[in-house]
Subunit: 151 residues, 2 copies
DNA sequence: GGGATTTAGTTAGTACACTAACTAGTATGA
DNA sequence: TCATACTAGTTAGTGTACTAACTAAATCCC
């Protein structure tokens, strides 16, 4: 009987998921580069196209990132010209992030991106939706695990 | 009829995959921290437990990482004491990476990690295998896309 | 045999992504 | 009311992860 190696690299979900994530981000790189965006910056733009003036805290929650990670990232997006950073007038602690006109206009170009990426991946819409749902279940599982004591 | 937003953050596979990857790595953090390892460093150890003296180039290919990324990472593993770095005697360009006794001994402890992570995720072995296979198909798709001209 | 090319690894520069520590507003409650 | 606690964001430090540019060794091949 052949004993399966639990430590074999190719058997690890954690290896597959990190490689797949890096490979996916790499797919976006040539598409986003002409727009002056990195992949995390693109995700910030998606979040802003959904809800326009919003705080850094709100963005951090939506993107599942630490505010400390988002803070310099948003500064770079301001330097590129896609958004403005200003203190909220109602709460001086909060940083209000607002799309500029360039940020709004970028949306028209971005509309074509998901279809281009899907075409490059050559996967059916159904299998992409299934993958996304499976990943979301993994995310929910890790969130549930985070609230319980580690073993 | 409701028009689905192609740019909605929650619809993006690329968002789901990066969040899932970060969440998975976060799951390993408290487990690996006592061993003095980060997640990428753990993957290097897995690769070395499969094939022991091997070159940096061989590791980079196995882990799908750039040699430039691996170079400092392997230096940190040497500083921790899990491996030795020395030039190959047959090819002076190549860097031979060899496990130390501490590196070999670590394997016994690591054997328990996959089961602990799977338990925390609370997913069935079958669904984990299915997820891994789906991710591997994504990786293959991106590799195939990389060899063709970008659109 | 020796110049041109390829390959292995390193270094520099940019950009995440995390934790820990900090500042400064805001809310709470005895 | 006013000390205390909480919340929002920033900064510093460490560790990936990429591209581009570099050095040095090995291989090609005329």
């Amino acid at each position: 009987m052949t004993e399966t190696n639990v430590l074999a690299l190719e058997n690890q979900v954690c290896f597959a998921i990190t490689v797949a994530a890096r490979a996916t981000v790499a797919l976006y790189r040539p598409i986003l580069e002409p727009l002056g965006l990195t992949h995390p910056q693109y995700l910030v733009m998606l979040a802003l196209w959904e809800e326009n003036p919003r705080t850094l805290r709100s963005l951090a929650d939506a993107l599942r990132l630490e505010p400390a990670t988002l803070s310099p990232l948003v500064k770079r997006l301001e330097a590129t010209g896609y958004l403005r950073r200003e203190r909220s007038t109602t709460d001086e602690r909060a940083l209000q992030v607002t799309l500029t006109s360039a940020g709004h206009e970028l949306r028209q170009i971005a509309e074509t991106i998901p279809e281009r990426v899907a075409r490059t991946l050559d996967m059916t819409p159904a299998s992409l939706i299934e993958l996304r749902d499976t990943l979301n279940s993994v995310i929910r599982a890790t969130e549930a695990a985070g609230s319980t004591a580690p073993r």
